[in-house]
Symmetry: C2
Subunit: 502 residues, 2 copies
């Protein structure tokens, strides 16, 4: 028997973000014959492309008979416009969901099972609740090393992969985050590539922080490079400082991260697979992972950091990438600026050896660069550190940074904020602690990272003596409203702990 | 500072099922000032009512400036109509989500934590992905007895609760499902209430099966009773056979079941809490749970059934309800009819003592009724069984069934199917097995349970000798298309195993 299951596409003008929706009348012949109702999952087909979508049922006034409204993402994925005829049918059973149930029930998954899940997720065959279920089943410490290896490799295999045929060793670095202002990447890339080593760095934009490396670099130059452009920049300079988002290195990871963020989940297996899949897809052979530890950082105890470090190293080894994890001080922000432009100022002052350059940012960058040198030539760490320092102190790193920026399209003028306000200390004492999370939130309320010039500049570090009335920090904002919003939050918050003792 | 965060409601004519959606223009002042984009979660407020909704962003052609479109469920929950002014603001942090994360990370939850989660879920504060995350974290055997007890009590405390002040003992029964045609409830309720015991039975409609007890009873009489009507029927007859859905006994469970079904998850803790919370809310003091075991039933091994049985009994005891679990034969369907009307015919023939009455259905009902008698008066099980049989054989159960139906509004005429088709055996041999799941699917493709008369009637049972060309079963359907659809499925399926040996 044959059911006529075609409808004509109407752009209904609704953006449902990443979840494709098809709008159908309840008296639509397909709904009636197939028993579809609101929230049914269906498959939309046009030529060779299939998209799984959720039905929303609309009143007769909204659509003509025989028409189906599609949300923006459904139209984009299907590649159709107003008036195109598409097929609507029962969504097929997604067989890899059996593996999700198996994991929920506490069983170990095989490589094939994990591969099936990731393949289906990257083909958009999972609904959001199915992705949420998979992430929840895998979070905590529920994936063992074999499973994390399989997850990493599955993620790599469904994205693009960069190749660097002229280089034996391809270096990379990553910080697992949680520390405002920790903008070492531009410094490390400049130092390492100045030494002639290959480090084609792709970075992310801020997800929950006031700035990602891509945001900071975008204040200085263009970062939205194609794979071809990245290859040209790296061929000229051995390095690059590009945004990873346009390169599509790990599409499955991008889909998982969206739900992870909504659930505020950060599973250890997921984190490792997410980081390593992007490194491997970028063609890296050696990478240093910065794990800051502190009471308000992402990782809060040394024990947790050591466990993560051991897993990173084991999974890296199994996937053919040499990993060195560095457990670093995460007790306070790094540098003085928070927000894209303010962090860019810190980076430039370190590269240019200015007297106001923040020493902590400089030392962290040297430490990471030295570990990369040491990874590729494991003779003496001190010699590696001297090598890094010499490149920075001689101005070679600054020259190299300028070469990379020129290759990426040249320097932009740093934008200035329209409004600023300095907050002073309300009492005298020693600055005992700065809360990383609240400080990040303050910078975001001021407008970072969407407004590049928004953010803040610290005038004191932990351990400094602060006198009543002395400036603690300056807020930068593009609108008066945001400045006031941030100030209001500051007054209710508990960011700076000032006390008697050191 | 003050942001103007009000918009005027427009009924945009979209049914998004249970997930409230608010449609806003991307240039809407609230989106701009609060940083909302498609998929942001916001709180909609009108008078004392708050509803959490997801934003979909619409083109300027869809909405006038200053207007917000609401989906059907958002309007219903908020109690607003076209033109009402509502507030839109940031969704508050749902603090009980910390407990969900704790469970994901493998820790035991306290009573308070579980109560917080269930309270927030029943207040619609969780998104679908958050419910999916909670269910996945609790599935398998990840809840211990204490947690299942807490979950059960939390579910009870957020719904309505029936009281039966005139009865010391209030009986109930439940089958955990998976066995087509297992329609013992109308028989058990008639036998038990004929003996003067109180059994105010509320049943569900089919979720994934071809008929629930409420669907079967609805073919015979009206089942959509209010709490007041249920109380009147029970006062008159000691029993009732109503649909539980309109009584709102466990609203949290209804929200969980929707996501569980979409994920095809059936966690043991969730199952027990779901069943027992509804029994307790219905005011039951003693209940028998039927756990059919078979290779194509819901529970597949005796070991699994025994584990479930032990948990049911323990959790029941902790919640003050006496539970007896019966592990029964789940290797083949029960009775001859599958689908609301066909199952009703089997029930009537057993009550009326007709020669064609299926013996297996009759014996199962007597066994369950006898266990309820035995629970309330634990002297001799054989005497309990004799008592049940005497009530059925004497016609007292049939009289009692008619009294209940009369109290619920009287008998309806059973509808007849427009089309039917008998399928014959293609070879000679012994019927060795019937696949419960495939048989259920066949009946559903024919139109059950939405079409009451749709379904099928078996002409052979497991163990029968079948000759080539002899009728195996008859399909019933309201449309020729559905009949053909079901037949096509039958020809591809493997429902009946006919072989040489017995």
């Amino acid at each position: 028997m044959e059911f006529v299951n075609t409808l004509k596409v109407v752009d209904i003008g609704i953006d449902t973000h990443q979840e494709p929706v098809v709008y159908m009348r309840s008296d639509c012949h397909i709904c009636l014959s197939e028993g579809f109702t609101a929230s049914s999952r269906v498959i939309l087909s046009y030529k060779e492309i299939d998209v799984i979508a959720t039905i929303n049922v609309v009143d007769e006034s909204v659509l003509e008979p025989g028409n189906a409204g599609l949300s923006k993402i459904a139209m984009r994925r299907l590649g159709v416009t107003d008036g195109t005829t598409i097929c609507v049918s029962h969504a097929p059973v997604v067989t890899s969901l059996a593996a999700v149930r198996k994991k929920i029930f506490g069983h170990k998954l095989s490589d094939d099972e994990i591969n099936g899940v990731i393949k289906d997720i990257s083909a958009h065959r999972y609904s959001d609740i199915e992705i949420a279920s998979f992430l929840s089943a895998c979070a905590g410490s529920r994936l063992d090393v074999d499973e994390i290896v399989a997850l990493t490799q599955a993620m790599v295999s469904c994205g693009k992969r960069l190749k660097w045929s002229h280089a034996d060793m391809v270096l990379d670095k990553h910080c697992i985050g949680g520390l405002p202002g920790n903008r070492t990447t531009p410094l490390v890339v400049s130092i390492v590539s100045a030494a002639g080593l290959t480090i084609p760095k792709t970075s992310s934009r801020a997800i929950t922080s006031p700035a990602g490396t891509a945001d900071t670099m975008e204040a200085l130059t263009s970062v939205n490079l194609s794979i071809g452009q990245i290859q040209t920049v790296v061929a000229q300079t051995h390095g690059c400082l590009a945004w990873g988002g346009s390169v599509n290195l790990s599409p499955a990871d991008d889909l998982l991260i969206r739900i992870e963020r909504a659930l505020d989940l950060d599973g250890e297996g997921q984190l490792i697979a997410s980081v390593l899949s992007k490194k491997i897809a970028a063609g890296s052979t050696h990478a240093v992972i910065d794990i800051p530890v502190g009471p308000t950082a992402k990782v809060r105890t040394n024990k947790e950091a050591e466990r993560l470090s051991s897993l990173f190293t084991q999974v890296g080894a199994a996937c053919g990438i040499q990993i060195r994890c560095l457990i670093t001080d995460g007790t306070q922000p790094v540098g003085r600026g928070i927000g894209p432009v303010e962090e860019a100022r810190d980076v430039l002052s370190v590269l240019q050896g200015k007297p106001e350059a923040p020493e902590d940012l400089c030392e962290r960058a040297l430490f990471l660069a030295a570990h990369l040198f040491f990874l590729t030539d494991p003779e003496s760490f001190n010699r590696s550190l001297d090598r890094a320092r010499a490149i920075l102190d001689s101005g070679a790193a600054w020259k190299q940074f300028q070469r990379i920026v020129d290759a990426q399209g040249g320097f932009k003028a740093l934008p200035k904020a329209n409004f600023y306000k300095t907050e002073n200390a309300s009492l005298t004492g020693v600055l005992q602690a700065i809360d990383n999370r609240q400080l990040a939130r303050l910078a975001k309320l001021a407008g970072a990272p969407n407004t590049a010039a928004a953010g803040l500049r610290l005038h004191k570090s932990v351990g400094d003596i602060v006198k009543q009335g002395e400036p603690l920090f300056t807020l930068f904002s593009d609108t008066e409203g945001e400045l006031q919003y941030a100030q209001t939050y500051y007054l209710q918050s508990d960011i700076f702990a000032i006390g008697d003792e050191t």
